[in-house]
Amino acid sequence: MITAGIDVGSKTVKVVILQDGKILARSLVLTGFEQGKAAEEAFALALKQAGLSAKDIQKVVATGAGRTSVSFATESVSDVAADARGAVFINPNARTVIDVGAEEGRGISTDTRGKVIDFAVNERCAAGAGTFTEAMSRAIEVKLEDMGELSLKSTQEIPLNAQCAVFAESEVVSLVHAKTSKEDIARAIHDGISNRIAAMARRVGVQNDIVLIGGVARNKGFVASLKRQLEADIKIPDEPEYVGALGAAVIAAS
């Protein structure tokens, strides 16, 4: 059976095509203004990679914030359900799934079959998601991709109140002027956001294995901060941003 999962995130659309438990193709495009179009585009891209056409796909399941805009989907599932299924599919021992995307952070506890037991989501506030780091990286004029590496070189801990991304930005600017090193500021930023994410994860109860997914999982500095906060090891899949789409494809196959 060949299925597809489409995750329409606020920033990017991800598609995974799955055949009997094997990933045939993946694709990612920017969501932009028209979610439906972006979804079609991403789907076409994935099909091309897999050398398939749309009718070869038996079932398409959409997920993510924009899941309702995917007209060609057979079904849609919530992002927490897709995340949990995807994470357990990759790592059968996953019990706590933390998904940090551009505009939303989630903590999910799941059972052995990838069914959601409980979850917590950050309220519509940028202080607990990828956008926060993006805004801060702009403030200290460091490329987003470099933030992680930079923060790993930090030598001291500085408390930063990640209450509001906007106000945090001015705190960051004051740190810059106080001649605080960019390394330390980068770490403070990651500590600030991971504190909020850790709180969410603890809310649902942290159990091993902890699997971190979503685009922000690519940020090594954030991962290091989160590990410190949770005092636990965190597993990160190779392609962390595709886990939601993968979960949707898995659900489609079952």
């Binding site: 109140n161 209450q163 603890r202």
Partner: protein, 375 residues
Amino acid sequence: MTLDRAKEIVTNRHDYAREWKKKTGSKVMGYFCTYVPEEIVYAAGVLPIRVIGSHEAQSYTEPHIYTMFCPFSRDVLAQGLRGKYDYLDGIMIGHSCLHLRQAFGAWMTNVPASFSYYMYTPAKIQSPHAKEMMLAETTEFKKAVENWLGRPITDDALDKSIEVYNTNRRLLKQIYELRKADPPPLFGSEAIELVLSSQLSDKAEHNKLLESVLKELPQRRNGPQGGNIRLMIIGSEDDDTNFLRYVEGLGATIVADEHCTGSRYFWNETVPEKDRLRAIGNRYMNRPPCPTKDWESRRRFVHIMNMAKEYNIQGAILVQQKFCDPHEFDIPPLKALLEKNGIPSLFLEFDITVPIGQFRTRVEAFLEMLQLEVV
């Protein structure tokens, strides 16, 4: 300076308690609210210490308390859950606010101690019957402590305990008295540290500390300046001395306070009477009240206004832990009352960590308001 010793006790509070335990071989009891009859605990040879904030944002409390409860209660619980107080033999709380009671409940359930006690401290302290109720509760509490320790608490021990506690209160008040001068011989942040260190140490030792502070203060050279703005801080639990130092670094001196980590803690003494427990209980019913216990009439405000006058303050900073219901009730009418009496005030909401950057403009603008001349 002995003042540094006070700061050290506050900073290394756990070391202090651990050493005390080793030195005396006795037990330590953590208490959650200043409405507990500490004298009884002390008379039993147990060291009562107050559990206060650590100002480290931690996510450990998430499964136990959710975000609508005050940061202080969460900070307290986080430390318990993390084992920072693993040396405590017992914990107790007096009936005050729901926030702290919830932290206590979670602590009791998740961090085993050999003794835990929730005492009802009456809220309608303005009723004469509250004293009777308090007596019944202190009597039960004394029995519980005796059972726990397997030995009685004698009248003699109670007398000594009351004496030590009263001395501590008297000495602190003497030091507070000196703050009426301009310039006062010590900073507000230091005064708060004196009170905090009292809550965290053996009062007999602390009395000696206070005596030397009283001796040293007149000779002090590096204290506050004259002509600084005289401020009073008022509100909920406030042990964030970093913030106070920051304010005092901007040309203001905090000369008075009304906090349970300040004057509310020690302001009145136990008036001895034959029934020791009654004497002890009455003291708590008569002390400057926490807002939760200040009804039907508002006696707390009378106390605050007297203090404001005696200490000749120019402005007040109203400090409140975020979500602190007890203080949320009092702050609007208090602010209005201060204003009516020509005392401008600044209201600030504290979190576990205080973002000084976020408060900077407010604090500076407030001080400018009190000081900056417009020609």
